[in-house]
Amino acid sequence: MNAAFTHKPAPDRPPPRISVGAVGWMRDNLFSSWMNTALTIVAVYILITLIPPFVQWALLDANWGGRDRSICDANKDGACWTFIKVRFLQIMFGLYYGANPDQVWRPVLAFALLIALAIPLFVESFPYKRYVSIGLLVVFPFVGYGLIHGQWFGLPVAETSQWGGFMLTFVLASVGIVCALPIGILLALGRRSNMPLVRTLSVSYIEFWRGTPLITILFMASVMLPLFFPAEVDFDKVARAMIGIALFQSAYTAEAIRGGLQAMPRGQFEGADAMGLKYWQSMRLIILPQALKISIPGIVNSFIELFKDTSLVAIIGLLDLLNMAQTASRSIEWKGYDIEAYLFAALLFWICCYGMSRYSQALERKLDTGHKH
């Protein structure tokens, strides 16, 4: 021991007071230069002009109580949440359930079932994903329809024309994505096929739907769809919108899946070929399971767009969340409280879309790291 020097590590000393703690943080992030300081002042000004008046109006001065507009008319300084409270069931579930509060358990049960079936799919280690997905995609639609529409099991009928509100928005978007998925997969495969005609048809289909605004397609679905079929065939309004939305969405889903297919290394195709798998076997067993997983963020993003876009059915007269809110705010009892209706609808949309976009971002990050072995 004596022959060699032994290194003794220097003790850690605390940093200068100025670079840590709240003061240090503010110095770094808010006042690092005069430009930065100016920005901070502007930002504080923006926040002061926007937030306190909004909080005052939306929360502090707001009207919550009562059953009719008299209380809101008496206090015009605050928001009229009484209106939302009274019309809540209608805005969430549409006319039929708004008028029959005792039946509201039906859509609520359907929604709860959906959630219960969907959650296990997001748990990594859950073993029976295959059966749950089949239950979700094949069995649930009938159960859900039976519950919401009624007629079976002696439930009173809720006509589709009486569906509405948040429930309708949700149903339209879900049906849209579920129907669009298989079509989208076929189109994506078709677009990468080596048969020129298959490729051309897939590309034309995809580009056709992607090039046209959804509102035109909804017009087409509501005005022209009945014309496409012999006179005796007829669809109700909701079904027409669903068909239009599903066709529209399939093009966007196809593009999301194509992204996943393109990200697959060539070696996976060759590995499958070398083992003697046939085209559909290698697609089903090797390529699609991986490609679909990579495309989930893309599919979720296109679903967010779809979810927002379903509000367009308001224009062709369906009473979705937006239209229901607007209609309520224009009824004789609540005329003039548009802002509350729009803000409430916006809040619901925002929660759903923001939640999904966070999920998709997290997934993207996970996939990003998952691929670097």
Partner: protein
């Protein structure tokens, strides 16, 4: 392929299989299309509507309130005019929206990456709020809940001096009245000459810098020229146009030009919504340039501005431009939501009012779709060209 073999049974020959499959698919597609078309024409005829373009020449029996480019006369203007007005009004709001959304989007995107924590958070809140709420809801909110109720009646208009007025009928601005056509052409020529001059100046400045190393303040000179030349030309041309100011008649404004409230609301909503997407594209583009590039530029002694101009922005723009162009297309398609607030663009005027009047569903929807498809194909052609060129540069 080896030529001289045992013949392959046709059902095991991939070429035959592929041709067979493709022919079957084509036949099915044609059959479906033909059936649909046939049914549609038949169903329309049953309703007493003969599908054809004949109606395009007939006078349209309804009024079009907003047509800034073509004069519309009820009873004289034809359906063709209505279609053209629809296309022009779509283009008008799209161009206005694209310009404003680009400016706002770049501004917010840069702010989002600002070293100032508070500003970055505000920008981020802006983006998350605006892009996660349906555009239609935003359009209706601004139109029905904000602009219409808050803006005053014409008699109580908010004025900006005596030049511009804002009320619930719209924004009134002075409009130019041409006094001498020759003078206007002189101005146009002068402005064109300025632009050419600036391009030449840039080339010259670039060459001079290559030769002598001296930079030339092109931007400042160009800005000055852009301001000064039109003013000089205006007076040199003998004041070729005058401005017609709006003024309040008994109940309403006369003179000037009116930007109707729905157009204003639509433009506002399209701008704020699309800006949130462009801001994300801008942020993504800037972040895609690795921090090493900035460090390398600083290490070479370039200052912050030059680093941005010469190193970061050229690389970031390549990532920013393609999604931004797609957003321009989206904005144009989204302008069709005007139908909810009665701004008279293509879908509202043509696929809505004209369709209801004539019942020519097939032709009218096909024409509407054709307009958007043309725009969309044009955009993707441009993007393909741009991406191909970009790849070429990278090789």
């Amino acid at each position: 392929m080896a030529e001289h073999h045992t013949k392959i049974p046709w059902h095991r020959n991939p070429k035959v299989r592929s041709i067979f499959f493709q022919v079957a698919l084509l036949a099915a597609t044609v059959w479906v299309a033909a059936t649909i078309l046939g049914n549609t024409v038949e169903n329309l005829e049953e309703r007493g509507i003969r599908t054809g373009l004949g109606f395009m020449g007939g006078a349209a029996p309804f009024n079009v309130g907003f047509s800034p480019f073509i004069e519309y006369k009820l009873g004289e203007s034809t359906y063709t005019d209505v279609f053209i007005i629809g296309v022009l009004n779509t283009m008008l709001v799209s161009v206005l929206g694209i310009v404003a959304a680009t400016v706002l989007g770049f501004f917010i995107g840069v702010l989002r990456l600002s070293p100032n924590w508070l500003m970055a958070k505000i920008a981020s809140a802006y983006i998350e709020i605006f892009r996660n709420v349906p555009l239609l809801l935003q359009i209706m909110f601004w139109n029905f809940a904000v602009f219409l109720p808050i803006l005053p009646a014409p008699r109580q208009s908010w004025g900006l001096g005596a030049t511009a007025f804002l009320n619930n009928r719209g924004l009134y601005l002075p409009s130019p009245i041409v006094e001498s056509a020759a003078g206007v052409w002189l101005m146009v020529a002068a402005i064109a000459a300025t632009i050419v001059g600036i391009i030449i100046l840039r080339r010259w400045a670039h060459r001079r810098q290559n030769r002598t190393g001296q930079p030339f303040p092109v931007l400042r000179v160009a800005l000055a020229a852009v301001v000064v030349v039109p003013v000089l030309a205006y007076f040199a041309g003998g004041q070729p146009f005058t401005l017609d100011f709006p003024f309040l008649d008994t109940f309403n404004f006369e003179g000037g030009m009116r930007i109707p409230t729905p157009l204003f609301a639509l433009w506002f909503a399209l701008t704020t919504y699309t800006a949130s997407f462009i801001a994300e594209a801008v942020r993504g583009g800037i972040l895609s340039v690795s921090h090493g590039q900035t460090e390398a530029a600083y290490a070479l002694g370039l200052n912050r501005k030059r680093t941005l101009d010469l190193v970061i922005i050229p690389q970031a723009m390549r990532v920013i431009i393609p999604p931004t162009i797609s957003q321009y297309l989206n904005l144009t398609k989204n302008s069709s939501l005007a139908v909810a607030i009665a701004y008279e663009e293509l879908v509202n005027l043509w696929a809505g009012i004209a369709l209801n009047q004539t019942g020519q569903a097939l032709i009218i929807i096909a024409m509407t779709i054709a307009v958007y498809e043309t725009l969309s194909l044009g955009t993707s052609a441009f993007l393909n060209w741009y991406n191909a060129r970009r790849q070429l540069v990278e090789r």
